[in-house]
Symmetry: D3
Subunit: 287 residues, 6 copies
């Protein structure tokens, strides 16, 4: 009888998700996946489950990923020393080749396989497939080599995938006008994709609790911000480190008519499901 009692509780939880399922059905959710949730095997498994569940109950999740540690590790094996300028990886020709092979040939396909292991159907894309992410060299003080920025998103290939019932998994390698590869910031690329798809939500997964009004006080988490507050935080210099591109990406998305942008703590198990299907506010929501 315990078994049935337990099943009844499960059923009640399912029913509590009903209003959320209704609200988000047919909506596109662009998720920038990275950080601990990608490195930690248990968390990674949970993200895949969350994505597959979202897909099955009628949402349209799009996974956008960088590669972080795997790239540095591959470079180390090849005897190359990663160099960073203002948080951006200096990317010479040889580094770009490694970045692309790791992101598109290893990380991306690992995620595709993991989704299939959870019963979903996924297709991996890089920015080169269907010319998805047209890019150009990022102009900056220091020459960063093949670091690029998105010039145009051609989302037709994503629509083809969604119609076919596949979850798109996108590695953030852009393609230049001569067919060359560019290393793109994954937060920015995710925002550009969210705008091109007129997504309902952009979710950036991070390794922090969200936006803090006092970076040293985890308890100072801002659970909600509007655009102006985000802009002020950027202008005032109070946002620092990895939070800068995240806030910028959120603003890009909101200005491009994405309804909501989230900075989410990917270290929490099932952070995605919690955000989408429950009342519990985790991370920071921008609108």
């Amino acid at each position: 009888m315990d078994l049935i009692e337990n099943a009844r509780l499960q059923a009640e939880v399912l029913v509590q998700a009903l209003p959320y399922i209704q609200r988000w059905r047919q909506k596109t959710i662009v998720i920038k996946y990275g950080g601990a949730a990608m490195v930690d095997d248990a968390l990674a498994l949970q993200v895949m489950q969350d994505i597959v569940l979202m897909h099955f109950v009628g949402l349209r999740p799009i996974l956008v990923h960088g590669g972080g540690p795997e790239i540095s590790e591959a470079m180390k094996r090849l005897g190359k020393q990663p160099t960073f300028v203002q948080g951006m990886r200096v990317t010479d020709q040889e580094t770009m080749e490694i970045v692309e092979m790791v992101l598109t040939g290893k990380t991306n396909k690992r995620l595709v396989s993991a989704i299939h292991q959870q019963g979903g159907r996924a297709v991996g894309l890089s920015g080169k497939d269907g010319n998805l992410l047209q890019a150009q060299k990022l102009e900056s003080e220091h020459d960063l080599g093949f670091v690029g920025e998105v010039k145009q998103v051609n989302p037709e290939i994503i629509h083809s995938m969604l119609e076919g019932g596949y979850i798109p998994v996108i590695s953030t390698v852009g393609v230049g006008s001569a067919g060359e590869s560019f290393n793109l910031n994954a937060d920015h690329a995710a925002a550009a994709i969210a705008v091109a798809l007129q997504a309902a939500k952009l979710i950036l997964m991070t390794d922090v609790p969200g936006v803090l009004s006092d970076p040293d006080q985890p308890s100072s988490l801002l659970s909600e911000m509007n655009r102006q507050q985000a802009q002020t935080m950027l202008d005032s210099g109070r946002a620092a480190g990895g939070m800068v591109p995240k806030l910028q990406a959120c603003l890009t998305a909101l200005e491009g008519d994405v309804e909501r942008a989230h900075i989410l703590d990917g270290r929490l198990p099932h952070a995605l499901l919690i955000e989408i299907f429950t009342d519990a506010g985790i991370g920071t929501m921008l609108k």
Copy 2:
């Protein structure tokens, strides 16, 4: 933090449903709804939630209902005395009119409204709509009047409803060749519909735990039966009362290539979800 912990548990329950959602997606499930689950307000609400959830996660539930107590009550108000022969209501012209008004004009629309209240979209049908249930007089020793049996199911109208994204709710009034009404046994009608739709499952909701090998011993529940065992139970007379038409309906469904038939205890909260989305075996499954 409790809130988030709770949300995490909820997320885990959702994820546990994943393999079941996958397995039953796009499958048609015909549910004969009746008994306590229809009379008890709390249970009724839960059935509606279960149906709506099934619909949202991609299954195709079809609700088939009788009317039981509401009919007898209406007859009493009109000063008519219900008469039963071998468990079947003797149905003269006036009784038939009452049956039809209650089933189609009251019970059916109450269910349709309840589904909308839970966020779903439903359409109520009787066997007359689109000539769904063509019927003829049931031949029997005693003249039962307008008690009928299904002669042919025309499921086109159900397909139209499913394509439109509606949950069909069907009252078991059949239509004769001259347009007259027939009172149909809801278990049999549900089985005929399940066969016509080539459903994956027929679920009969009852007020007993399932099929018992010893009717006096609830602990003698048979959690699984095959066709031959069901036939033997019918032939030997060990099945009695309301269990007879239920076992017959299950056999009709299985012989018509419905994959599974279930006799389910509708008195358990969320019995439908438990049956479809968990491992807990409740009631009797025939295959």
Copy 3:
């Protein structure tokens, strides 16, 4: 040879209908059905034939009906005394239940069956199906109980039916925000549906020859009126009794861009076909 001569005359009549068929093909015609044409068996049969013919030659008829005498009769059988205030039935909870059962469970299904008997395909709907007629309590001096007015029409379910090749037959029971039932004036409900479907015509069937300039002179029939004339007649109080809601419904339809509204004498055999497929002007046409 007589037989062939007769057939030739028939053929000529068919050919004379050609320009009308052409003109009204693919057009939606909302017909409020009631009065003598509903009570008299011969007339009722002819209305069904007219509807089925309209459907077969490419028009899109929608039948909207009240229930009149059947409701009062049912109430009498239950020992309830109908009460009317200013022509509107005072509708307490118990009365509402009877109204709904009769309209939706008896009248509606009788019409559906009758259409099938003439070779057509029909589906009966109440305002609860697919949330078709969202209603709210009608505010008035006297508390009329569950008498409602249309707040919103959700015509998707009608489109699903038309695409499936079915003639929709609609009983005018509305649904409140809590799922409760409301008794709606059928003329008004038909007008609201005509507007929601952007119908080409609204036809209200009555038991009078049409709008009379002098109510006591049948010969004073106005075969055509414009909106202003109708408004003046309402404002001046010259329109009385059942003509008031009919003129109001016609105005609602015309203001909602329905091309034509008709008040038609349902006592004439085949009044619908005569109106649509011949030159003979019967009743009053408003534009």
Copy 4:
């Protein structure tokens, strides 16, 4: 009031057509048009009306025509003497050119225009359009020149026309493997088209009452024949003149699974409507 009484009679006639409309909806009817019905202006107008009406009420009429008198007249104007061998026009190169110009450039387009004048939509095709009628030289004792027989029907172009809502009007000029033109017997071509479309009916319009058991006795009309009777009549030589190809064409159609073949007296006004929409048996029906 006379006007309305008359309208009522018209409505009744329309209603009597209901069961026929139902029965023939969506069915393809191939009509070989020729003889008096093509020469007499009043009859011709009626045929066009009949065709347009059939189209509007949901049938799929296909008009196949020869050109008879117009060809001989054009030849006379050009100083060519028509020569016939066993009822078949000897067709040299120059004659073929005239035949094609008259059939396809004059007769065909006159029919297309006449259908549009009646409110229908038509497209004229010759056997060359979309390679509709692939032909080869008819082998016979006497060299008949460019008299051909159908080798293959490619009905895709007809399906395109029907989907577009057009009535196909087909002139019976076939195309040889080198692109040359062939003069085809219109009865045979119509039969071949009926078979390729799996039509429900082939109707051959003639200037006789139908098949007579005694050619000299109009009263000896056979209103029905089966295949064997038709074959016997052909074998015995009792069928003569223009009746031979007509009976052969009917047999070809029936053997190719066309349901019914008719030899119809085109001199009767509205013969087509009478045949399709009334009980009056005119002409001979083969099945």
Copy 5:
């Protein structure tokens, strides 16, 4: 090995066509076909090949033709003397009949057959089919009889043909409001069709090198003109003879948002392919 070397050169030519194929894919090209390219057998064959190739590589060519010499020849055979006033054929009833028979019954079907001989699929249409070219009498000083001008183009039939995968071949006979035929100028008709289809290009094939600034100097070919230059040339009277309707037709097309209009020398083999698929500028391009 020579064979392979040759094949390699062929392959290179194919590859050089790639950018042109890409640019014109899915684009509609209306081609007025006439003059030497229609009279000379070798040139005519090449035009058919060009059209079929354009169709196969994804363009949508529409062929519009007059009939020139064939009409005069047919008239001669019938003893009629062609009369021209200001370059326009005076068209009495009898002449109109001849014109229509030749254009629609001979020239048109010859072209349709020729396209099939090259492996394409074509359907011949006159302005009467689907009411494609509604026309009215051309008002002018001298009564020109049945010379007409386009009043309205109904391009639905062309869209049906294109969807079915057919190349439309159109003879320029228009239809009046009473179903009568009108002789249309083919340049003007082609322009009207190009506008109705919102074509990318109108190409007029002629027997001159293009527009010359000095009519006596072939070397004075203008390879490009804008609208104003064309208008000036018309106003100044420098354009003469057959060039007047051609320039007018080009202006009509450009004013109706056709992107480019060409006056092309049809005496050059494969002039169409050269214009569309190579860099070689032949004839005059107006934009």
Copy 6:
């Protein structure tokens, strides 16, 4: 004038391709790409042009590639020594990772970019995307590690790409039942894909002239072979080295109802176009 003369010659070449375009339209052609045609930049460019042209003129090319030299080069850079047993690369875990990164992350995307540079639209897939190539460990005498064989092809993702108008480019990495990667022989993988798609042709590009009856005599090229001859050559041991898997792959394709299989000399410029669009026989054709 030279320019125009040249253009005319080009046009003639295009026209000569007509019958081949017709023959292969809508046909699926699976191309195993490798060897010199992949290493030599000029040849590689030509292959991309050939593929894009095939796509534009209506064929459905599918590119399947291995990675050869790029893999060995990457391994060398990582200090790994490639080991081969009977022509197959021994693939330990680390090697498999390198193979996958190079094939899917470098070679594949380079090809996708190159197709876009030629104006085409492509999407790169590995066997993991949409579970395209389900694989299992290849059983053999020596443990070859992660060398696999195709167990099942799931071609739905290819159909989605083709419908979207994309050229699929497939890297031959298979996915095991636990999501692990397998290194597949590209010839065999291409054959399995050709069978799953019921392709019209399988083309294997090699660095030899085709199948030679005497391996030492290039002049002994067999331009055609049937299945039995191929089987005999395999059984007799006369086929050696890389020719063995190629002949096996061809046999697999033919036995799976692929119409033709080709072993083609990829060192010839535009070998694909020559094979498809000209008469020149290059390489060996098996049927």
